[in-house]
């Protein structure tokens, strides 16, 4: 029996994530949305979602005593960070005049430049919509997902990891940036697999079936 815990720390709506996980789970898999440390740490898989601002994210985690839980889960279990749940894994973010993050993956979270120019035209920020995701590794979470498939994004900040080897995929807007990272039992994505139709559901299915080996 697998149990996938979705960490509920008040940062955004988790219904989409849990519904998407349920839709790819078999009857041997249970999906739980929880803020309870014991429930999260006794799960086989942990999903760390999040939308909103970095400062609120870190404050909420601390307030609920979940920062230690995230650190622990990210050491031991198949772990998937999504969007702000990816950015929070880095060392530090430029958002809200600078916020110290969880430092599970060495690196910075930066804002897209303002204005963001491409060929003399201004690009919109947030980077919102379906962009191509170029896989740069053979990670098991990319199984059965076509190279350069489109996933749904909505964000104004992006991750810049210190070690380029943790980058698992990139996109361009207009410059290339990291959109997925992998480090041991941790995988994280800037895009929203739960909103990315077939390709996104496949990634979630691969996560549920993942044993945490990279």
């Amino acid at each position: 029996m697998r149990r996938v815990a979705v960490i509920d720390y008040g940062m955004g709506n988790l219904r989409s994530v849990s519904k998407a996980l349920e839709s790819v789970s078999d009857n041997q898999t249970e999906v739980l949305v929880s803020a309870d440390p014991d429930t999260i740490l006794s799960a086989s898989h942990v999903l760390f979602p999040g939308v909103g601002a970095m400062r609120d994210c870190i404050l909420e985690l601390n307030k609920l005593g979940l920062d230690e839980v995230v650190l622990e889960a990210a050491k031991t279990k198949p772990f998937l960070g999504i969007c702000l749940g990816m950015q929070a894994l880095l060392s530090h973010s430029e958002e809200n005049n600078g916020v110290k993050a969880l430092d599970i993956i060495a690196g910075e979270v930066k804002r897209f430049p303002n204005p963001l120019m491409a060929d003399g035209e201004k690009l919109k920020v947030p980077h919102m919509g379906w962009n191509q995701v170029h896989q740069t590794s053979n990670h098991v979470l990319w199984k059965d997902i076509q190279q350069d498939s489109r996933f749904y994004f909505v964000h104004s900040y992006y991750v810049s990891p210190e070690d380029p080897a943790v980058t698992s995929a990139t996109s361009s807007y207009p410059d290339e940036f990291t959109v997925a990272i992998q480090q041991d039992n941790v995988f994280a994505a800037q895009f929203h697999p739960e909103k990315s139709q077939h390709a996104g559901l496949q990634l979630l299915k691969n996560f549920v079936n993942w044993d945490g080996q990279s």
Binding site: N13, V51, D148, V154
Partner: protein, 257 residues
């Protein structure tokens, strides 16, 4: 290659059914919203927008159930607009499975509501819907004003200034409808779309007036829109979303096929 331009079918929902009026009269029934949403998802819609045109509290409950049912079967972004007036309205729709909410007349009535909503839920889920009508005479410089109550009530607010203000207050996206064109099938108001899109940093969705596939391409190329929204050309089987995307792609627009 990079970010794709989006096609967003819009479902006007009244008492649990998809309807589409022509300039807010002559409402035709276009089916069950859950079935319609699933069909558009299969056709490759990039997002789906539900516009709740229901007037009563009781019927609003129906909308929550529609969103819940769609969100457990359709895994693309969902936006709900119409009658969003309080933080509680937003929370209910997000909890039901919506990813974004559209705020329209409540923003005109109280702009601070947009700021409060963006602070509470994040700009990424706050779409400000703007209904604009041209008020300049022939030969004058273009000028558009915000109208409420389905285009009947002028507010005296300049549309471009309003869009900038709403972005400053935290809107993550602008849904722009030309009330002159809505339901007419004569194409977007391209000058309006371009004026707003060029004035703000956030994405702009063009709406109101799509009658043929070329209108969608024009909205992107000439209107500088980041996404295009249409209702009736998809509802009554005239065109599929896939056809629309192929037509756009054939003219050099990047789309998700």
């Amino acid at each position: 290659m990079g970010l794709a331009k989006r096609i967003i079918p819009c479902l006007d929902v009244d008492n649990g059914r998809v309807v589409k009026g022509v300039q807010f009269v002559d409402i035709r029934d276009a089916g069950d919203p859950i079935e319609v949403a699933k069909r558009y998802d299969e056709q490759g819609a990039d997002e789906i927008t539900f516009l709740d045109i229901t007037a009563t509290h009781h019927e609003r409950e129906t909308m929550v159930h529609v969103v819940e049912a769609v969100a457990s079967q359709v895994f693309i972004p969902l936006t709900v607009g119409g009658g969003i007036r309080t933080v509680d309205d937003i929370r209910r729709m997000l909890n039901a499975g919506a990813d974004k909410v559209g705020i329209n007349s409540a923003a005109v009535k109280n702009p601070e509501f947009v700021r409060e909503a963006a602070e509470k839920f994040g700009s990424q889920c706050i779409v400000v819907a703007i209904d604009a009508k041209k008020v300049s005479a022939e030969g004058e410089a273009d000028k558009w004003e915000i109208f409420t109550h389905g285009g009947r009530k002028p507010t005296g607010i300049d549309a471009v200034e309003w869009a900038k203000k709403m972005v400053a207050y935290g809107a993550g996206e602008i849904l722009l409808t030309s009330m002159d064109r809505d339901g007419t099938k004569s194409g977007f108001d391209l000058a309006l779309t371009r004026a707003i899109s060029d004035a703000v940093d956030v994405p702009v969705i063009a709406s109101g007036g799509v009658g043929q596939l070329q209108d969608l391409t024009d909205g992107i190329k000439e209107g500088h829109a980041d996404a295009v929204l249409a209702a009736s050309i998809f509802h009554f089987g005239e065109h599929t979303v896939q056809e629309a995307k192929q037509q756009m792609a054939s003219q050099g627009i990047e789309v998700r096929l």
